[in-house]
């Protein structure tokens, strides 16, 4: 297969002509240089062994050559699309992004004290944190479309979830590069949702970076719902840094997209920090979904729980690579990691690789991965109770994933995830009545 390449002059021109404040122009240029040094990741790099970004590079190049100054048209009014996807009356502060651009009109005006939400491009100082990330993070920085910063003061509490709906519209190929920053002060708490979706025929490459910084005892729930249209690509990266006793619960669901890569990079830097990474992917057709996680235990008595489950159909392919690194001095670390997969067709393929490196004492670490089919005895049991075979199969598949959803602390978001999963499985009407 051909290695992904990009014409650097085209890219440089695009970066130089993008609008924005001075700090942003500098930031884009710095990011650009870092990207040009590294280039698109290739399958020769261990972290990208199974995921070839050539189609992404090609789309990016076509988009760059199409217009001297990439300005993207948008499709039908985003508000109606948002309504279709999220539905009315959701109990959340909803903020809309359309093709990577923040709809400032959608910013909530009723946030509680100590909670602020600012468009990234309006900041007069660089609000971008210390995260350097990889080449794709650099590319996100170079082509930064827009972004948002959520700041929680010490002890501040966000009353309702912040629901970021990031939509892609329009059939023209384009790259969208938003960035989301979340800073939670001591003892602050909030629930944040990133929901990626769009018009069914949208052809976009979304390259998004989310950067979370949690001070002592801050508690966050982060939900990532990925339902990109079937001709779209997505590369996303979540960076989180947790101070002492901070807690982060992540839920990630991949249902859409043609080529998808998500990295969750978590650093537990303070004593007793805890992270839970819950992941689900359901793939069909020729989808390719690659989840990479890395948890760095850098302080004593830190806890990580990781549970990713996948259901693969048709000729789809999934990758799971989870690395847990227990650094010297991180004594008393407690880490558990699991990846389980259901292969529902012979053409589907999964590559799963848990990795564990330990340089500390008194640690409790476990990891495991399984790849299997639906349990025949369970199937027979359900059929022997009168359920037809199709319903029994769907029910077992759903049950396999539901265990993960059951960990959602926000009940309404848990129900939303259930409905999304049921919608991703065939004959969902029947299953939906079972909830």
């Amino acid at each position: 297969m051909k290695a992904p390449v990009l014409d650097s002059e085209l890219l440089r021109h695009a970066v130089d002509t993008r609008p924005g404040p001075d700090w942003l122009a500098r930031f884009r240029r710095e990011s650009l240089e870092r990207f040009l040094d590294a280039g698109f990741p290739t399958v020769r790099q261990e972290a990208w062994k199974y995921t070839n970004l050539s189609p992404v590079a090609e789309l990016t190049e076509r988009w760059l050559s199409a217009k001297p100054t990439p300005e993207d048209e948008t499709g039908r009014p985003a508000a109606t699309l948002a309504e279709d996807i999220v539905g009315g009356g959701s109990d959340a502060h909803t903020v809309l992004f359309v093709d990577g651009r923040l709809d400032t009109g959608s910013l909530p005006r009723d946030l509680p004290d100590g909670v602020s939400l600012e468009p990234l491009l309006e900041a007069d100082v660089p609000p971008i944190g210390a995260v350097r990330g990889d080449a794709m993070t650099a590319l996100n920085g170079a082509l930064l479309t827009d972004g948002l910063r959520l700041t929680l003061a010490d002890s501040a509490s966000l009353d309702r979830p912040l629901y970021l709906l990031l939509l892609v519209t329009g059939e023209t190929e384009a790259v969208v590069s938003p960035r989301i920053l979340i800073e939670a002060g001591r003892g602050a708490n909030a629930t944040i949702v990133e929901h990626y979706a769009g018009e069914p025929d949208a052809r976009r490459f979304t390259n998004v970076v989310t950067d979370i910084v949690q001070d002592t005892a801050a508690r966050l729930q982060h939900y990532r719902f990925q339902q990109q249209p079937s001709a779209s690509f997505q590369v996303s990266r979540l960076h989180a840094r947790l101070a002492a006793s901070a807690e982060l619960d992540c839920h990630s669901i991949d249902l859409g997209g043609q080529l998808v890569r998500h990295d969750a990079m978590i650093r537990l830097t303070g004593d007793g920090a805890r992270v839970a990474l819950n992941g689900i992917y359901v793939t069909d057709g020729r989808q390719h979904v690659d989840n990479h996680t890395r948890v760095d235990h850098e302080a004593p008595d830190t806890i990580s729980r990781e549970d990713y489950r996948g259901v693969l159909k048709d000729s789809s392919r999934a990758v799971f690579n989870g690395k847990v690194m227990v650094h010297a001095g991180a004594d008393g670390t407690d880490a558990a990691q699991s990846n389980r997969n259901l292969l529902l067709s012979e053409g589907a393929e999964v590559d799963t690789k848990p990795e564990l490196e330990i340089y500390a004492d008194d640690v409790k670490c476990s990891h495991g991965a399984t790849v299997g089919q639906l349990d025949q005895t369970s199937l027979f049991y359900l059929r022997s109770r009168g359920l037809d075979e199709e319903t029994a199969r769907h029910l077992l598949t759903f049950a396999f994933l539901r265990e993960i959803v059951g960990r959602a602390r926000n009940a309404a978001l848990g129900r939303r995830m259930e409905r999304m999963l049921v919608g991703g499985l065939p004959e969902f009407e029947e299953l939906e009545s079972l909830l």
Binding site: S384, R385, G386, L387
Partner: protein, 253 residues
């Protein structure tokens, strides 16, 4: 009168090994039959073949259930027609709610009988009544199917399902295994409550113990895939006393 269940010359294999070798059995409505026999005699195979497990291949013979060819039906059709198998090892299915399964199963059966779906209130009333019969706490309803249940709780849950579904033919596969005496009494009570003139119960068991609490009308001894002796409940007592060793003499004779 047409028998409820009629098995003629049934042969079945598992992975090429013949387990049932010409089994004949007739069960009339209203009767309780016990099928006893040593390990490996084919008792569980018989129960699973009747319920439609496809790991077993029927190579010869016929099974008529209320005059219909049972072997041609899918497992779910058999269930809807009124065949129920209480599993020896009930499966744990986390993520599928116990109450949901009960309701879905009941509605599948009702639909086949031409009855409307049961409404939520009637369902709950029915299930509560049956749960109290099985001395089960209501919290079991909202748990995953058999998830984290003890051995005894799983068996009680099987009988609960049976009591709710009211099948025509109840097959109990070693339901007494692993039960302490109190649990055994509860399970037997549940089974006895289902005795009725138009229903038949077939108990597959290794030990006579269960038959102290559920009095059978007929006892059959299964050995090497065939019924080698039939009698009344005294046959079970005889087996208890003599063990199964004498069967070898019968076989070799």
């Amino acid at each position: 009168m047409q028998p409820l269940l009629e098995i003629r010359n049934l042969h079945a294999t598992v992975e090429g090994t013949e387990i049932l070798r010409g089994l004949d059995l007739t069960v009339d409505a209203g009767e309780v039959h016990a099928i006893m026999g040593p390990n490996g005699s084919g008792k569980s195979t018989l129960a699973h073949v009747l319920a439609g497990r496809d790991d077993y291949e029927v190579t010869d013979g016929q099974v008529l259930f209320r005059g219909q060819n049972l072997l041609e039906m899918e497992p779910e059709e058999r269930a809807r027609e009124g065949v129920f198998l209480a599993f020896q090892y009930p499966v744990e299915i986390p993520g599928v709610n116990n109450a949901y399964l009960l309701k879905a199963a009941l509605n599948a059966v009702r639909k086949a009988r031409g009855e409307p779906e049961i409404d939520a209130i009637d369902f709950l009333k029915l299930v509560r009544e049956k749960m109290s019969l099985m001395q089960m706490d209501q919290s079991f309803l909202n748990r995953g199917v058999n998830e984290g249940f003890s051995g005894g709780e799983k068996k009680r849950n099987e009988i609960l399902q049976m009591a709710v579904l009211e099948p025509m033919l109840c097959l109990l596969d070693e339901t007494d295994s692993g039960l302490d005496i109190d649990a055994l009494k509860v399970v037997a009570g549940g089974v006895n409550s289902l005795r009725s003139p138009d229903r038949a119960i077939v108990l597959v068991t290794h030990y006579q113990r269960l038959l102290d609490y559920i009095q059978p009308d007929a006892v059959h001894v299964l050995s090497r895939g065939r019924i080698v002796r039939s009698g009344d409940k005294n046959l079970a007592l005889e087996l208890e006393e003599r063990g199964y060793d004498w069967l070898r003499e019968v076989e070799s004779a």
